[in-house]
Amino acid sequence: MTNHPLLLVPLLLNLVGGIFTLALGTQGAASVLARLRGVGFDRAHRMLNTMQRWVAVFLAAIALGVVLTLVLQTFAADAPLTYRLGGWQPPYGIVLVMDGLSALFTLMLSLVSFAVLLYTAQCRDDTMNRDLYIPLALFNLVGLNGVFITGDIFTFFVFMEVTVMSSVVLVASADTNKSPNKGGIEAAIKYLLISAMGTLFLLVGIGLVYAAFGTLNMADIGLQSSEGTAPALAGVGAAVLLCAMLLKSAVAPFHYWQPDFHTAAPTPMSALLSSVVVKIGIYGIFRLVTLMFPEFREEFGAPLVILGVIGVIFGGLNALQTHNLKRLLAYSTLGQIGFILVALGWGGVAGLTAAIVFSFNHALIKSAMLMLAGLIASRTKEKTADLIRHVGLGRGMPLISLLFFVGALALAGIPPLNGFIGKLAVVQAGVGAQGWLGLGLTIGGGILTLMYGMKTWQRIFQSEHDHNTAPLKPFNQGDSPLAPALLIGLCVVLGLAAAPLVNAALVAATRLMQPSLYISAVLSLGGG
């Protein structure tokens, strides 16, 4: 069994980057630079702020390269890659594991975080001038990277808390007396309290699982529960863990914090939150139903399908009636998470493949759309995302109009874009699982996506604009469209050439259906 220290690199890069940019943001660094370059303190401070942003972009680019290498290695190898922290033989100690699922989720995270940091680097919002913004964003990425590659359920909890704390501070910091961004603190408090309840449930679940199995290693839990020696307590633990994951993913009965939180976040942060952070719970559910408790797959399937269908319809209807562009996209996330849950609930190789492909594509589309929303808002005088104020705002922005149109179509799942591939996979899974009622309701709810997408596009880009009520800033004072354009381009490419992603997801799903592969790789059974 070989160790793959490369698994540590994305984690360490972001951690070291966070600490480095933290140092760059201090007053001391600014006064040293002011003395060295012979410029004023304020100017040195601004230079350091710019440096922070580009350091983050640079690190994200390196991390993307490393993750691509790791993904290629993972799919080339037969067994998942593992790294034992401190050299402890599992089930003792903490182990990092990258199998097909982790690889695709980490790749999704790296792509989105690169785009998000690129957008941040060119963003003119005041929030991004804060010394702590970039370090906190990087610490957030440490948590996200860790969640997707850890093979230990308690470490999963710790990394999730890292993500929660940093995103709470990022959202709250946007709300000051002067800024027009009201509601940031309220949303942050709401999220902190509700996510603490999720954490509580997660801890209770971990405690129950530990009491039942005497281990925290996911592979060891999977091994023991596949041997059929699981006591009744394990079932309770699994159900509690499932609830915690649903809460973290903002699924219908636990969703109410999500629209507030994602609306109040600064644009690049809301792009990250609404595309990748909500997938933490999805990833946890994947691990629950395939690795740790495969015997409960049937029991968990039905509620997941029901909750998913509720999410699709509820999210779609809410998105139709809201008057804030960012909030519309947050509600849309609620609906799209529903699609993923439905596919997960149907299960089987087809269902898991569909869920992976849909998650991946949704992250790219949604982060691009949220950045476009921020971009449009950055052109208004008071920086608003209110759709009433947006009527006809985009008449003079042909490029943004095109990007938004393509993004809305991709979100709705129109061929030949990548959203279509995801929806097609979900439909195939539904046909395979014979879930006709769920399938019909899901497709019906999917039409809502097209409705609100097109309604919004027409309102912003096709209506007459009244310059007296909503004056517009010139192009060069808005944010740069580079990052969303890159993501939308990727969406088109993944729609036209979908085979690599779908095949990778198929391989990942096939391996997920054989948990013994993961278990023997982590515990080095079978002569490893």
Binding site: E161, P180, G207, S378
Partner: protein
């Protein structure tokens, strides 16, 4: 001992949930911490207390020798649970501090104009403070992006 732990955990859970649902922010924060204490106690009950011998012994001294020395034949307690407990305490304490800081900031930022009360000493519920946005209604002037 098990009964004591079970009853205490249950009572703390009840207290925590009750406090958390009150409208006052400070009482809410208390509820938050009481709930986490309940969880920590629950972890304690899971396995940290299944023996009377400490899991950590001096270098070179075997655990059995230690247990003989204090007149008990039990195996050492599970060190992992204690480590988890420690981590959970640290994280819950951190969350609690963050929450209190947030409440303090909220009472400062959301203070209605003309209110001269000392912001740091002002509890009370969020709704009585500044009008927070009603996102879904069309009448609002607009939220920032």
């Amino acid at each position: 001992m098990d009964l004591v732990l079970a009853v205490t955990t249950g009572v703390l859970f009840g207290l925590g949930v009750y406090q958390l649902l009150r409208r006052d922010l400070i009482k809410m924060a208390m509820g938050f911490y009481i709930l986490f204490t309940a969880i920590n106690l629950f972890f304690f009950a899971v396995g940290a207390f299944n023996s009377e011998v400490a899991p950590y012994v001096l270098a070179g001294v075997k655990a059995t020798l230690v247990s003989e020395a204090i007149g008990s034949l039990k195996v050492p307690a599970d060190p992992l649970v204690q480590a988890l407990l420690l981590t959970a305490i640290v994280i819950s304490f951190g969350s609690y501090a963050l929450l209190l800081g947030m409440f303090q900031r909220a009472s400062r930022v959301l203070k209605p104009e003309g209110d001269t009360r000392d912001a740091t000493l002002m509890p009370g519920d969020l709704n009585s403070l500044r009008d927070t946005p009603d996102w879904d209604s069309a009448s609002r002037k607009g939220a920032e992006a």
